[in-house]
Subunit: 177 residues, 2 copies
């Protein structure tokens, strides 16, 4: 029996599948990349189930969408979190991970996942979606062109790693109130 592909928000019991997809995506983007995620950490940091108006645990920051193919096989993953624009005083969505199982590429599944994220963005009143992509990932960039994502070349991305955070944090020269 085949039908439309199905997209749903991830549940607690999906963490094994999610970790498998995260590892496969990392290996494809950056072979040998260090993936320190574990099932336990995903279980404690992802927010499961669809967005609601109920208060959220402050430690669950990201949401995962899973796509099941028209023959009901797990075929894709998208992870996003909400971000914020002060200029608009409004939320946005940041795409953190997008993966489609190789056998299911050229089915439009990546685009469906992006569209599902756009539905989530619209429902939450988001004024933008943004994300980063490796400059040498031509295939991904070509796909992102199709969903009309614009490359913003006027910004530098800046990053402080966990060592840098520690160095900065120990140096208090002010009072906390």
């Amino acid at each position: 029996m085949t039908g439309l592909p199905v997209i749903r928000y991830a549940r607690q019991e999906d963490v094994t599948l999610i970790l498998r997809f995260i590892r496969a995506a990392a290996e494809e983007q950056l072979p040998g990349a260090e993936v320190t995620a574990t099932e336990e950490r995903l279980a404690s940091t992802l927010h499961f189930g669809p967005p609601t108006n109920a208060p959220l645990p402050p430690t669950r920051l990201a949401r995962a969408l899973l796509l099941f193919s028209s023959n009901a096989e797990p075929a894709g993953l998208l992870v996003f979190f909400y971000n914020y624009s002060t200029w608009a005083a409004a939320p946005g969505i940041c795409l953190e991970e997008l993966y489609v199982v190789p056998d299911y590429r050229q089915h439009g599944y990546g685009q469906m996942l992006i569209q599902a994220m756009a539905c989530a963005a619209e429902a939450a009143g988001c004024i933008k979606m943004d994300w980063v992509c490796l400059k040498d990932n031509e295939k991904a960039l070509c796909f992102y062109d199709k969903v009309e994502a614009k490359r913003i070349d006027k910004w530098h991305v800046l990053k402080v790693d966990s060592e840098g955070i520690r160095r900065l944090a120990i140096n208090e020269t002010w009072d906390w109130a």
Copy 2:
């Protein structure tokens, strides 16, 4: 009377000051920039008070730190939100806004605000802090060098605006489960 500068998390009654600082920062970065934020929208989208373990309203996404000078004048603002890394299954922090009142520059206040954000990042177990900066903002880039933020040049930043979100969201070719 003078003492150490004071940093605290913003409160609901600070929105007038926060909006003033956001507008001043925007005007300095990009003269004529459209700032659609209002006091009402800031009041309903910022999370006020220090982070706790209590559940959060899902619509309050960002936190603001305010710095008061050693003579107790409002002198700086930093806005951040939590982001997420799937590879680490751990949170990060994104710097969304940093502003120091011109009269109070060269006092190390910008660095104190970044350090206060690093304290928040460490308390929340964050594995990174990241943000974007206009490539032609030499002054800001020079300051970010001092806090040892690395420029990540291997990524393109991609963005879909609210029009693009709408176009993507109306095009459902899957079932939601």
